[in-house]
């Protein structure tokens, strides 16, 4: 037994792994703290794998996985898990799609069986009617989350701005209305046989279960599913470490306040340099003591809000984004100047040891906080297994962050925060804006 007295020993999450003959990678993390267990599946497919003319398909496909399979009726997956007292969902990202449920531990078999049925036998349950219905649902998701939401187009505008045409990360994740309309049952079949195969998936189980029992169930339910025939390789995704020049796009939108997203091409998720970038991001924009908040929100009162984050992309390149919303009395040009000034200051002078310590302390607490939840533990195991074949990296994160020094953060800053690596996506209120001053600003920095 991995645990004593309902406690994780020295904060280490137990990790066991095995493979089925069909290539399914399984990670197990057994504990007996509470009678609950999380099941989590990562399929190594996301919007990056979509073909031309089918933007949004990976996400639409995710919806179809809740529409039943050979032995499960429409919406029954949701019903069975909720009836069991479980929580569940799925999500789609540029390079992966995940499905997860947390259930009372005596319902582990049900959760595994449901996931196996939709991995192995989805097609018999697919109908045109279900596809049409979910297409309408997804179009309404787009209207709700993207079109009718201030700054809701940020992700797709940013992808367009920072990735070259035909790069797999360049197109919209939620997809265009036109492409969603074009998706067919044939597409469903093709996508399923290409990507939803055991050898393109990781299954993680975390929480209260017996390891031998779980192995038996996984083998019984997932074992008969045939291995895939391999997926087509993604087109080349390597990019130079910097954009090579300043990029800029202005979006006139139905928003109340100007908001600037400034992106920097940054080191791939999981690399040593990534940890320095991630700490730099926290120095810049995590909580009230961060650079951007302290300077722009508190001291200079330019911004109503300021933050920073990384995309955590694990293929060739990542992005660090600073995000600053202007106060009502601040002009668009002022917002841009002030953010530029702040970034330029960091770029020229670097950051101090104490700022790095603050950032690492906050990141460490967040790490421990997240490990409290079985669902989070399972999701992270799946992530590290999918991207690096090493689920045990879950236990190395705190050390990786602790080893980041101010010197390494400043190396990252001098390599990546220069003028040749800044992409500004600027939202400007459509109404009541003096268009001329914006155009003047565009001419100045474009």
């Amino acid at each position: 037994m991995a645990l004593h007295g309902g406690q994780f020993t020295r904060m280490r999450i137990p990790v066991e792994t095995f493979h089925l003959d069909n290539g399914l990678f399984v990670t197990l993390s057994e504990d007996h703290i509470a009678p609950i267990v999380a099941v989590n599946l990562w399929y190594h497919v996301g919007s990056a794998n979509e073909k031309t003319g089918r933007t949004g398909f990976a996400h639409l496909f995710e919806h179809m996985l809740f529409q039943g399979s050979a032995h499960v009726g429409v919406n029954e997956h949701f019903e069975l898990i909720q009836r069991a007292g479980g929580t569940l969902n799925g999500s789609t990202w540029l390079e992966r799609t995940n499905y997860f449920e947390t259930v009372p531990s005596n319902e582990l078999a049900l959760a595994l069986w449901l996931e196996a049925d939709r991995m192995g036998e989805l097609l018999p349950a697919m109908t045109q009617e279900k596809l049409d219905n979910q297409r309408d649902v997804v179009k309404n998701e787009r209207r709700w989350a993207v079109d009718n939401q201030p700054y809701g187009t940020m992700l797709e505008k940013m992808q367009e701005l920072v990735f070259p045409p035909s790069h797999p990360f360049q197109h919209s994740l939620i997809g265009s209305m036109e492409d969603l309309s074009a998706a067919s049952l044939d597409d469903i079949g093709q996508f399923l046989t290409t990507y939803y195969t055991p050898d393109n998936a990781v299954l993680s189980i975390a929480g209260d279960f017996d390891s031998d029992e779980a192995r038996k169930l996984v083998t019984e339910y997932f074992g008969p599913i045939p291995k895939g025939k391999g997926k087509p390789p993604l087109p080349p995704m390597n990019l130079p470490p910097v954009f090579g020049r300043s990029l800029r796009e202005v979006v006139y939108d139905n928003v109340s306040l100007p908001r600037l997203f400034m992106a920097f091409r940054s080191p791939i998720f999981g690399s040593d340099e990534y940890y320095a970038a991630s700490v730099a991001s926290a120095v810049l924009g995590t909580r009230k003591g961060s650079r951007l908040h302290r300077s722009l929100v508190r001291e200079r009162q330019i911004a109503a809000d300021a933050g920073a984050f990384t995309f955590d992309l694990a293929k060739m390149t990542d992005l660090l984004v600073a995000d600053v919303t202007a106060r009502p009395e601040i002009s668009v040009a002022q917002l841009e100047d002030e953010v530029d000034r702040e970034i330029e200051l960091v770029y020229r002078e670097g950051v101090a040891e104490s700022e790095v310590k603050r950032a690492i302390a906050l990141i460490e607490t967040d790490l421990v906080v997240s490990l409290q939840s079985a669902g989070e533990r399972a999701d992270r195991l799946s992530m590290f297994a999918t991207y690096f074949n090493r689920p045990e990296l879950i236990n190395e994160q705190a050390d990786r962050y602790r080893s980041v020094t101010a010197g390494r953060v400043n190396d990252f800053i001098s390599e990546r925060l220069g003028e040749d690596n800044r992409a500004s996506l600027l939202y400007v209120p459509k109404e009541g804006v003096e268009t001329e001053s914006v155009l003047a600003a565009a001419a100045g920095t474009g």
């Binding site: 309902g6 994780f8 904060m11 703290i33 509470a34 009678p35 609950i36 032995h71 919406n75 949701f78 019903e79 909720q82 009836r83 069991a84 007292g85 479980g86 929580t87 009372p104 531990s105 005596n106 319902e107 078999a109 049900l110 069986w113 196996a116 049925d117 192995g120 049409d132 219905n133 979910q134 309408d136 649902v137 997804v138 309404n140 709700w144 079109d147 009718n148 201030p150 008969p224 599913i225 928003v255 109340s256 009230k288 003591g289 302290r294 929100v297 508190r298 109503a304 919303t325 009502p328 310590k357 603050r358 302390a361 906050l362 460490e364 607490t365 421990v368 906080v369 409290q372 939840s373």
Partner: protein
């Protein structure tokens, strides 16, 4: 061979909500402690009987602004220094006010808990509400209000409250205040609010996580030794509806691709004796993914990404509301379905199938709700704020299981009021107004050009 037979559940393992101790410290502060040793982590949650319902008329937003400015300067440190000190310990303070209480919360790793708690106690016992920071946070609140004009979801929620409650009800205005009320607030208002309401007799400190009750008691006693004694008066609350009949409001957003819909009426206070029946009734109506309203609007019709209903449980009667966003063209059709579902659940008994889905879910999901120290602390705060019995969590699952289909029908008849439904839409009046008017859901008002 693929396994075609659905597996049956094994033997369920028992679960108990974490043991906790509830005591009064000599200072008058109530202390609730729940030792949980899973990870080296603890949450300290301070709740004060000083929610937004204690805002005086014309001072709406004072509770929220006082809580927001509480950590922006103390007699020893300014706001930037406080932020820096907490964050060097790997934590940051969340503070704010909701309708029923003011809260101040930190979550920290165990070996920083003592230092962080001492700093917290000292800072909030000696706040200075610096003029500059007060004005800055007022400005940030005004920016938020401005943002709402282009944010249909938040705007719909706010307009719904405004059209639902009588103008002299605190619930008719945003908990963080309006632009008029916030603009008028001063440092003096915050100071007075703080002196009047932040008192030991109105304060509960909850500690959940990797620390014993004895250590918590000692820690809180020392950290809060300068906390003022006494208790604040409780304020009476007006929470009556603005009108007795139905009415319909369209907040016009030309060219909006969707209509944000809110349909509801004044609901029930949290302490209502039929809480469990009503909770289950709502789960069947619109509380779950598999509820009638979501399956109808999303899965049968594809009108929306999601639709739900809920009772917003507060000390006073908060709203009952159905909330969704639908494609503009189907606004009237979606409204018709919502009204039909409300009528249907009042007119016939729900099926055993529906009852067992809601009952099984609410019963069995119980252990999954308390995985984190923050969730445990927040559950304990619910006990304190709504004055629930000490065995509330011990008997919760039993109470859920005791609800019958007949009780659900009685709750629907007693606590859903089709004749009082207020309908609020944020959407394109040109596209939706005529077809909505044809439904005759009440007098139609169009707001905005």
């Amino acid at each position: 061979m693929v396994v075609t037979l659905r597996p049956q559940p094994g033997q369920a393992r028992s679960y108990q909500f974490p043991d906790f101790r509830d005591e009064k410290l000599p200072s008058g502060i109530r202390l609730v402690t729940a030792p949980v040793v899973k990870l080296p982590l603890a949450t300290v949650l301070v709740i004060i009987d000083a929610g937004s319902t204690s805002d005086a008329a014309g001072k709406e937003g004072v509770a929220a602004l006082a809580a927001g400015t509480l950590l922006e300067g103390s007699t020893r440190f300014d706001g930037a220094e406080l932020a820096e000190k907490f964050e060097q310990l790997g934590t940051s303070v969340e503070s704010g006010a909701d309708w029923d209480s003011t809260f101040i919360k930190i979550t920290t790793v165990s070996d920083k808990l003592e230092e962080a708690t001492k700093l917290l106690g000292e800072a909030i016992s000696n706040p200075t509400f610096p003029e500059r920071e007060v004005e800055r946070l007022k400005g940030e609140r005004l920016a938020e209000i401005l943002q709402l004009e282009t944010e249909p979801r938040g705007l719909a929620d706010e307009k719904f409250a405004e059209f639902l409650y009588a103008p002299d009800s605190r619930y008719s205005k945003p908990d963080e205040g309006t632009s008029e009320s916030v603009s008028a607030l001063s440092r003096k208002d915050l100071n007075e609010f703080y002196r009047a309401r932040y008192r030991a007799g109105s304060t509960t400190v909850i500690v959940a996580g990797d620390i014993s009750t004895d250590s918590s008691r000692e820690l809180i006693r020392r950290a809060f030794q300068n906390w003022p004694s006494g208790a604040a008066r409780t304020q009476s609350l007006v929470a009556i509806a603005r009108t007795s009949g139905r009415s319909v409001h369209v907040v016009n957003k030309p060219e909006a691709p969707q209509s944000e819909l809110r349909v509801g009426h004044v609901g029930l206070p949290r302490n209502h004796p039929e809480f469990f029946q009503t909770l289950l009734m709502n789960a069947v109506l619109g509380g779950l993914f598999g509820s009638r309203i979501n399956l109808n609007l999303r899965e049968a019709h594809g009108y929306t990404y999601g639709a739900s209903s809920f009772y917003d449980w507060r000390r006073g009667p908060g709203p009952f509301v159905v909330s969704t966003a639908v494609q503009s063209e189907v606004t009237a059709a979606a409204l018709r379905e919502i009204f039909l579902e409300i009528d249907r659940i009042r007119s016939e008994r729900i099926s055993e199938e529906e009852l067992s889905l809601a009952r099984d879910y609410l019963d069995r999901v119980f252990p999954i709700r308390y995985e984190t120290t923050a969730a445990i602390a927040s559950a304990l705060a619910t006990l304190v704020i709504y004055d629930l019995p000490a065995d509330y969590y011990g008997s919760y699952r039993r109470n859920i299981r005791a609800v019958t289909a007949d009780a659900v029908l009685r709750a629907a008849k007693a606590h859903l009021h089709p004749d009082e439904l207020q309908t609020v839409m944020v959407g394109d009046a040109q596209v939706i107004a005529d077809s909505v008017a044809d439904l005759s859901l009440g007098e139609l008002h169009i707001h905005g050009s």
